[in-house]
């Protein structure tokens, strides 16, 4: 049993360590936990005659699920997010694979090339697509110049297609990063062992490389899906009326249509979906991690 003075020593270092965590803890509690809690609370309140009434009820959620328009937009959003995730994976995974296994000495140089657009303004990239896809845009001009079409193609811009295209462009590097990291972590002797035991490259990929890269793949996919799900800027830039997503509805509810509680309810739903996906992938990752 430690004596009194030994306990002083314990407190000396433990108190010091804990005090260090206090400021960020407080900040996070005040500016993250509290706001989320407020949003949660708002979803149970009402707006009557343009005034917020703090009357606890479930009517927002009921309206949400009963309204066919909201349901349709929500389903469209999920479809878009899923498409974005799929396309990003189809683009990002082979790129990561190429860089990790086939690029040799140029690996670091090429890696910089991939991450640079990652951090360059979302707005800039979205705007670029806008200029390309419009009826007077670069793509149509290109097609007409080479006589591939005679009239501007309409659906390029202001459609779900445009939203998927733009978001895939944004999130492919996001998806690339964790996949590349987990591919790099695969010890090369494992691959050599697989080949030594008679597996073809294709077989080695499906039996060794793919399973071991699952954590990165899941992380990237979750990221792309969740962020696409809650995106409201892409629809505003290139989505038009047919490309509206659920976050746009939230935005108008907080804007012109003054119905914060309903908007909060939808936000809470998005939040819950995000958290459950994170939880699921974490569980999945534990099962798949072969440490």
């Amino acid at each position: 049993m430690p004596s009194a003075s030994a306990t002083d020593f314990v407190m000396y270092s433990r108190a010091y360590k804990t005090a260090v965590s206090a400021p960020p803890l407080l900040w996070v509690a005040l500016f993250l936990l509290l706001p989320y809690a407020l949003m949660f609370a708002h979803s149970f309140w009402l707006v009557q005659d343009g005034v917020l009434v703090r009357h606890w009820n479930l009517s927002n959620y009921q309206r949400l699920f009963a309204n066919p328009l909201y349901v349709e937009v929500f389903l469209r959003t999920v479809r878009i997010a899923a498409s974005v995730t799929l396309c990003s994976l189809l683009l990002g995974y082979p790129l990561a694979y190429y860089l990790s296994f086939h690029s040799g000495a140029r690996k670091h140089f090429l890696y910089q090339f991939v991450i640079v657009p990652l951090w360059v303004s979302y707005l800039v990239r979205g705007y670029a697509w806008k200029t390309i896809l419009g009826s007077d845009g670069v793509l149509n001009g290109f097609l007409q110049y080479f006589h591939l079409t005679h009239e501007p193609v309409g659906f390029f811009l202001y459609s779900p297609f445009a939203v998927v295209l733009m978001l895939t462009h944004i999130y492919t590097p996001f998806v690339f990063l964790p996949i590349y990291a987990s591919l790099e972590h695969i010890p090369r002797p494992l691959i050599e062992a697989s080949q030594d035991l008679g597996a073809s490259p294709r077989s080695t990929f499906f039996r060794v490389i793919l399973p071991l890269s699952m954590p990165g793949l899941l992380a990237g996919a979750t990221f792309a899906f969740v962020l696409s799900l809650g995106d409201f800027l892409a629809p505003l830039l290139v989505g038009g009326s047919s490309g509206t997503m659920i976050a746009n509805i939230v935005q108008t509810l907080f804007g012109a249509v003054y119905d914060w509680p309903l908007g909060a309810a939808i936000s809470v739903c998005i939040l819950l979906i995000t958290l459950s996906l994170l939880f699921l992938t974490e569980r999945f990752e534990k099962r798949w991690s072969f440490k």
Binding site: M1, P2, S5, A6, D8, Y12
Partner: protein, 358 residues
């Protein structure tokens, strides 16, 4: 079951010990890593903590340095309790296993660090740094970055950094284990010389018993968190307290036998002893057994006959494994004698059969 020998004070028994460990114990969760260690270290002594990995020797070192806290017991330095003090208040310095040199400071700044943070007079610092670097023969590297030095060089800098503070006790956590064999022997000699020169007490941790025997004034053998024996190398070698101590330090034959009416019987071997009836363990060092040319034995000797199963020549000596016919394989170390075949007679003195605890 005999108890381990009582920890002795060093040769200067009249002086008070520099460091006293009293009933020191340490538990990590459910695991009792150190059990009731009591040990003294005298000023100017070179004491080695010897043991296998998991024996608790590094933990004990860290307790003395202050990076871990005792579960129970006391540590006193010059009579005053230090186990309640944080590490930066103890007059003890450590040489870390991986040197832990500060990469963003050059060699000179590394060595000066302790002096700076403790507020030594500014004009004194360069002189003391130069002195310390001179002691370890690294004077010309004062401006170099640690990342540019070899392992051996980094280790010297780590030593200088610790010694410049003139601690009363220097803790060394397996400092030579990362070096290759030749460099190791060289550094062993230098460390010993350094210790003599500075007169600082060294507490040296290692798992290498040869190293321990070569360097130490005393060895403290740890086993599973307990102190097995603490004595000078010659003492431990000649009079190991237990079979473990006998086997760990040097090589030995451990003979298990039964004492009945003044005679102990270990398989085919028998000799008279002064012990009470019951089970007994004896340690017989391989080099104390010799070939009997004429097959006769003297009264103070034990004789046995056996066939040589294996013979390993190692230049200065040969190690034989001899089958005595009772299932025992005894190891015998002889001067080079050429290949031996068939059965031979061997003898050893009864005095060389040391009774050991379990």
């Amino acid at each position: 079951m005999s108890s381990p020998s009582i920890p002795e004070a060093a040769s200067t028994a009249a002086e008070a010990p520099l460091l006293e460990l009293r009933a020191v114990a340490k538990r990590f969760g459910a695991r009792q890593v150190l059990k009731n260690i009591s040990l003294d270290i005298a000023s100017g002594e070179f004491l080695t903590l010897l043991g296998e990995s998991g024996s608790g020797k590094t933990t004990l070192l860290r307790l003395i340095a202050g990076f871990e806290q005792l579960t129970s017991g006391e540590i006193r330095m010059s009579g005053e309790r230090i186990d309640t003090l944080p590490p930066h208040k103890r007059r003890v310095n450590t040489v870390f296993q991986n040197y832990a040199l500060f990469p963003h400071l050059n060699v000179g700044e590394n060595v000066a660090y302790g002096l700076r943070v403790q507020g030594a007079p500014k004009n004194e610092i360069p002189g003391r740094v130069a002195e310390a670097l001179g002691m370890v023969k690294m004077t010309e590297f004062a401006g170099a970055r640690p990342s540019r030095l070899s392992g051996g060089q980094q280790q010297r800098v780590a030593l200088a950094r610790a010694l410049v503070n003139r601690p009363q006790l220097l803790l060394l956590d397996e400092p030579l284990s990362a070096l290759d064999a030749n460099l190791r022997k060289e550094m062993q000699a230098e460390l010993k010389a350094l210790q003599r020169e500075t007169g600082i007490a060294f507490l040296f941790v290692t798992h290498d018993q040869e190293e321990a025997m070569a360097l130490s004034d005393r060895i403290a053998l740890l086993r599973d968190g307990s102190l097995e024996q603490a004595a000078s190398p010659r003492e431990i070698y000649a009079h190991p307290a237990t079979a473990y101590a006998a086997s760990f330090i040097g090589q030995t034959n451990v003979l298990r036998g039964e004492v009945r009416r003044g005679i102990v019987t270990c398989g085919v071997l028998r000799w008279p002893v002064d012990d009470a009836d019951g089970e007994a363990l004896f340690s017989v060092r391989p080099e104390t057994i010799r070939l009997s040319a004429d097959g006769k034995r003297q009264t103070h000797e034990v004789k046995f006959r056996g066939s040589v199963r294996r013979q390993i020549f190692s230049g200065a000596s040969e190690l034989l494994e001899v089958d005595c016919g009772d299932g025992q394989l005894l190891r015998v170390r002889l001067a080079p004698c050429g290949p031996l075949t068939g059965e031979h007679d061997f003898v050893f003195s009864i005095a060389d059969a040391i009774r050991v605890g379990d």
